[in-house]
């Protein structure tokens, strides 16, 4: 990356905003093309996601998912690893969360189940990242390929378990029984009735997500391990020369990454659905990649990017609801454009901005 050539506010503030504006401009053209008013669409999207209590609740609920998967991708980024397997790790993490809830919910209150479920989600998610991590570290099998493959294996494994082992008897639904109160995370709307969150499934997992952000910040920028991870990511040869074990860093980083992805299941399985069901991950693991890119792999950026994607999900649903001409596939197009401009076309405006800022600082640069 060409970081450092630009002032920080441009790198972290202006460029994402410009990318976002470009994405909305193109999305607006698409909306115009199908004969709807783009300004009206933007109004519905923003009102639907931030305009009323329940909308805000849903936005933050989706954002909680994206924070976990975004952090997972970001941690791996810092070690120069591209973990595409957040989807599968979150899915298998759901198994850990679900088993903890199924085992405990009838006997103990939720706050006893909670730490066990958190541990279950993290351990199962991490375990799912272990094999790709080992193969990368020891055999050099590229982690991008193996994590993608593991997404498919996770999907098959979960289908098998939900259909044959965990499904409640006599039901055609491939899902477990509903967790009792001891396996359900309290909803924010019950904890803080003063906030008018309507029926939004925003739950305590949001607080856990914020705690995870703090954890990642301390880990990456304030711990010895984090320093090693960043060193390894910046220059592998230098890191090895400095005595950092590449095998250890690759495996440990991927375990942390997988564990964070697995925690996403706390929000969906224990917080919202209160049962383990097929495909609860619904692509959130993949969106995490875009979130991490957009958030510059920093927890604060990830929170902001997650809220943006939360808005797109919730506001998008409201938009599809209000405007029958805008189908759910159109919403995916809009989300895709944001990912395209924020992630893939990240360098669209960068060279131009660099020239702009460089021209103002030429004498200094030459002096240096």
């Amino acid at each position: 990356m060409t970081r450092g050539k630009l002032p920080r506010w441009v790198d972290y503030g202006l460029i994402p905003v410009m990318n976002l504006a470009a994405a909305f401009l193109v999305a607006g053209l698409v909306v115009l093309l199908i004969g709807e008013n783009p300004l009206e669409a933007v109004r519905i999207l923003i009102y639907g996601s931030l305009g009323f209590g329940e909308g805000i609740g849903f936005t933050l609920f989706y954002a909680t998912n994206f924070i976990f998967t975004g952090l997972a991708v970001a941690v791996a980024f810092h070690a120069g690893l591209f973990n595409i397997g957040g989807e599968g790790q979150a899915y298998v993490g759901g198994l850990g969360v679900g088993l903890a809830c199924l085992a405990l919910d009838r006997f103990v209150p939720w706050w006893v189940t909670f730490p066990v479920a958190v541990a279950g989600g993290a351990v199962f998610g991490a375990a799912w990242a272990l094999v790709p991590a080992y193969l990368q570290a020891r055999r050099g099998s590229h982690v991008v390929i193996t994590t993608i493959m593991f997404n498919f294996i996770a999907s098959s494994l979960m289908v098998y378990l939900l259909v044959n082992v965990l499904a409640k008897p006599g039901s055609m639904q491939p899902e477990t029984r509903n967790f009792e109160a001891g396996g359900q995370l309290p909803l924010i709307r019950d904890l803080l009735p003063g906030l008018d969150l309507g029926q939004a499934p925003l739950n305590l997992a949001f607080v856990l997500a914020l705690a995870a952000c703090l954890f990642v910040w301390v880990l990456i920028w304030r711990s010895r391990l984090g320093y090693e991870i960043r060193t390894f990511g910046a220059n592998q040869s230098a890191a090895i020369y400095a005595g950092i074990s590449p095998v250890r860093i690759t495996i440990v980083t991927m375990l942390i990454s997988g564990g964070l992805a697995g925690l996403m299941a706390i929000n969906e399985v224990m917080g919202s659905q209160t049962r383990l069901l097929l495909e609860f991950t619904a692509g959130y693991g993949f969106v995490g990649i875009a979130v991490a890119l957009m958030g510059r792999a920093h927890p604060v950026g990830i929170i902001l990017a997650s809220i943006l994607f939360g808005m797109l999900y919730q506001g998008g649903a409201e938009l599809a609801f209000e405007k029958p001409a805008i189908t759910r596939d159109m919403i995916v197009v809009i989300q895709g454009l944001v990912i395209l401009f924020a992630g893939a076309l990240e360098h669209l405006f960068r060279p131009w901005l660099e020239r702009l800022f460089a021209s103002g600082h030429v004498p200094e640069a030459q002096a240096a």
Partner: protein
Amino acid sequence: MMEVYVKTIARLMGAVAVAAMMSGGAIQAASAADAAPAVVYDLGGKFDKSFNESAYMGAEKYKKDTGTEYRDFEIQNDSQREQGLRNFARRGMSPIIGIGFSYEQAIEKVAKEFPDTHFAIVDSVVDLPNVRSILFKEHEGSYLVGVLAAMASKTGKVGFVGGMDIPLIRKFACGYVQGVKSVSPDIDVIQNMTGTTGAAWNDPVKGSELAKAQFDKGVDVVYHAAGGTGIGVLQAAADAGKLGIGVDSNQNSLHPGNMLTSMVKSVDVAVYKAFDDSAKGNWSAGIQSLGLKEGGVDWAYDDDNKELITDDMKAAVEKAKQDIISGKVEVHDYMSDNSCPM
């Protein structure tokens, strides 16, 4: 300090909520008079060429016949099931129909919150005073195509390919076998299920392999109840010059000349009827089982297959239909006791 913040935010949100309620209230009043109906589709989406699309056709037909506008919504993830139902219920829409058994939990929850709104669910049962549970007697329709298959077979062997091995699909198979045996107890039925997981609904390659294996054993008519997998079954039948039988919607047009018939499950009729009953004040909650008598299931006869259906066959299948409707013939429902006497 924190408390002040929370209170301010709460107050702000309260103000927004009041505004939302006022605007929402206006919408509610306007549509309660028209009793606008609504449909929420399953994850497959409304243009899935099968189950959901059939519901869409029913709603569209109602709109054309009565001029009543309806609203529909395609969900993107499971969290949106309740959200979609609730959004329609809040706007005072009624009836609200959930397509597919995956809506069971969501309807159970939302129907309790809106006891005055009519809800309906297709293919599952929700036991609440304001919910209509729409089930189909797939075994009766399968019996009819079984009769046709037995009469069309020259080898004395007919086949069945199911999707995922669940009670619902065994119900299709059991009715089919019963229909075949009613023509002649000597005819063999070779049955295969594609798999035990959800992937079995969408594996046309395996469907085609299963059908080919059955043809090798002498089967010359094959009936599928396998969703997307069935496309492979029917393709294999057409390629081998055998006969295929479609399911759910009328699939005769897929391979004219190689499609004996289709077992039609009229989700469209059920949706139409739910809309109509609610509008005319004939609404009834509880379980509604739609069989041959109610027009919920039937066999398909059109230009694409009329060359294959002889007068004898047509007479026999129509007689079987009348016998089932009058109660003279009773088709065993696999799901009533989870066993098949055949």
